[in-house]
Symmetry: C2
Subunit: 200 residues, 2 copies
Amino acid sequence: MPKGFTLWFTGLSASGKTTLAERVRDILLERGMKVEVLDGDVVRQNLSKGLGFSKEDRDINIRRIGFVCSLLTRNDVVAIGAAISPYKAIRDENRKLIGRFVEVYCKCDLETLKQRDPKGLYQKAIDGEIENFTGVSDPYEPPDNPEVVVDTANEDIDTCVGRIIATLEQLTYIPAGDGRGYSDDEEESIKQRLRDLGYI
Amino acid sequence: MPKGFTLWFTGLSASGKTTLAERVRDILLERGMKVEVLDGDVVRQNLSKGLGFSKEDRDINIRRIGFVCSLLTRNDVVAIGAAISPYKAIRDENRKLIGRFVEVYCKCDLETLKQRDPKGLYQKAIDGEIENFTGVSDPYEPPDNPEVVVDTANEDIDTCVGRIIATLEQLTYIPAGDGRGYSDDEEESIKQRLRDLGYI
């Protein structure tokens, strides 16, 4: 029985990918699993120095993270990818390569992101100081059928994390935990989503 | 008790790195370990497309392989790196990053390599058709204190593999196997080497 899988967070800058990735990592580590987070920013240091933000360079970066996630996944490690990964085709390539692949779409409206703007990047992009900025001057293609959608503009972190964990439990990718971070209604809606996707 | 470590093959092109890496991998897989080979050529496709053979690009490539080996190693996987990795400082950086790091120097004299020349690369380098070719027009810095030295010009594959496996057993990085591919004299010389290096 394989233990590894890849949990892939996709969404615009500041949509909550890294925050959620780290929270989920901590929960899985507490449950005794092996986990590695491959965060877009960290990866650009260690795997992709020199790559820019053209479509071609972004695709190479996401393929590279996918390659490393595949090595970890097939060796019983939970690989958590957290990168904007704006292009659907490359995410789907990684899904195909890896197999056990759970996509989390971090949805967040642009107005909220502009208000958050922790690094001032949206303002710079709007002012034209940064080029190829996803969501402002570069495209983002949301997933058609992600296993999980979290709306980080309207849902708090615990709700988002609870839904991700519940989905992994329903998929039997992780054993059921003691506590439950989600209601009966939420559980039923997660099951319905996974039924619609043909998983259960 | 950690199970992961990195076995790092260094040496000139055609010195036997990949052949030995794959033989060792098969033995470790048979003993029930998790193993990944990160071969220089494969890695240049998946992690380092676009990098050339300048010192700077070589260093980036070797650091990248080291980063992936470290992720695997700390998750109980045996990572086997097989890349020319000509510069001592970068190999030592990887050793420091990874900790459980066993270096195998694939020694082979240039005359033998020129005769082997499976891809005709040495001839092209000598004719000036390829630049920056390690051992011909680019430097190779042998390790000062590798855990294992194999002389692939004068020792057959089984002897080389036997010495690598015996070293891993002596270091207790892998459990002792049933069969022994090495003599009492060889075992004593391996122990002596590891004593000299301060391991046992």
